[in-house]
Subunit: 269 residues, 2 copies
């Protein structure tokens, strides 16, 4: 049985150990892309998701003060692991991550992929212990909101309360979409539906939505969709042979969204 741990770096290496003083100050980023990395919450890509509409400047400044911008993490690095105590919530600013859960039977289930604007760590709000492991799929930039400041921020910025509830509600809906994919019987339907959802997600963030560069392995994808990796590979190949998509390694081009949608909806239960 293939374990994802094998794909990770040494388990003892955890790039971010919150609150132990090993974090670089924000100004250390000045040597990189200043305009992007010193971005405030106001101009951050998160603002769509992280902040309520029409938020005032005082709110932004309070949030700015509470948020730490941490070192970019290399690929295959754990942000936190199942069973660890909750230190902070994290927001993805750039890159992508994968969340997995190890069940009582020892099997791993890939629960989701998260992109810029997504909030990580909400799983641990019940019990203050992480229920999932989150690893980076590529070089990833994060913001961290220390959990001990969360209450203060929520107390002093009421709109954020509703926003946090909204975000959790939306995450719930994403799980429902995932369940809908898993409930579909046919492999083609699952893969096609997932490709469309990734495309929609990119489109919602203003990116080119026909050109997908997947950051996860076929193994991750198969696990996520409840399919064997060979089935994922074969399904992508067939969609390509049918002229619906074009596959080249981890980059996929959607050639015919119409027929891709039909493939996704085709096999009803």
């Amino acid at each position: 049985m293939l374990k994802y741990w094998n794909m990770l770096v040494d388990p003892s290496i955890v790039a971010h150990k919150p609150f132990t003083g090993d974090r670089m100050p924000t100004t250390a980023y000045a040597s990189e892309a200043l305009t992007q990395l010193k971005v405030s919450c106001a101009s951050c890509g998160l603002s769509d998701l992280c902040l309520p509409r029409g938020v005032d400047k005082v709110t932004l400044e309070q949030l700015d003060d509470a948020v730490d911008r941490i070192d970019p993490l290399p690929r295959s690095t754990s942000i936190f692991r199942q069973g660890e105590p909750l230190f902070a919530l994290y927001a993805v600013r750039a890159g992508s991550v994968r969340s997995t859960h190890v069940g009582a039977d020892g099997n791993e289930q890939v629960l989701g992929f998260h992109y810029p604007g997504d909030l990580l760590g909400l799983d641990a709000l019940d019990g203050n212990v992480h229920q999932v492991t989150i690893d980076t799929l590529e070089r990833t930039h994060l913001c961290a909101l220390p959990i001990n400041t969360l209450d203060n921020v929520l107390e002093s910025v009421p709109p954020l309360r509703r926003q946090l509830l909204r975000i959790m509600s939306r995450n719930h809906a994403q799980d429902h979409h995932h369940l809908e994919l898993m409930g579909r019987k046919a492999a083609t339907s699952r893969v096609a539906g997932w490709l469309l959802s990734v495309s929609k997600r990119l489109h919602a963030h203003g990116y080119e939505s026909d050109q997908l560069s997947l950051s996860m392995s076929r193994s991750d994808l198969g696990n996520y969709l409840g399919l064997a990796i060979e089935t994922v590979s074969r399904t992508l190949s067939r969609l390509q042979a049918d002229g619906i998509i074009e596959v080249s390694g981890r980059s996929v081009t959607l050639l015919d969204k119409q027929r891709l949608t039909e493939a996704a909806d085709g096999d009803c239960s």
Copy 2:
């Protein structure tokens, strides 16, 4: 394709139309089981889930004032439907309900079953429109918390904020368990795992955990687990033939939890 609508009563019948004045006053319940139905939030079975530990009396009274105890609903009744605006959050006091989602392709997916202590309607906190339909599986008693009082309650009772976040976090974890079931390849593993989860749930609420009386149809169960109803039926029959469970219609007795656990964990991916 079997549509669940067929199993429901006339779609125009919605038992609870909030805030239109057709709700019976609380005292109308006096003729039934007074001690149970006039129960305050303090002694309600929800207190474990609905309220934080060590909550004070003032909190309880505030919550009591905000909560409406509504008419018990008969079987196969919609509490709310996908697409409807959010009027209130509901807590299940007795009975059981099923939540379903109709995807863009028109297929229905059973997303979960909810029992006493569960909170309904959280799906609509993002956008104030329900993303799922919730129907009763049997005669069900609910409490309703009008959404326009939610903000006030959360404002005046800070511990409830954390509690609400906890509940949503826990719901998220339940979805993850569902996804884990769906990710398992073998039908036996899915069914056995689900039986155990129901048993655990009953046990957590202090009920007899070996004697399950399922309130949902095989069709619901099959949809929930991503299996054909015939497969569900056959799997239950085989588990019975193996002496692991005893099936009689919708009542299931767990005879050998040890082997049931092995059956659930057996088929690794």
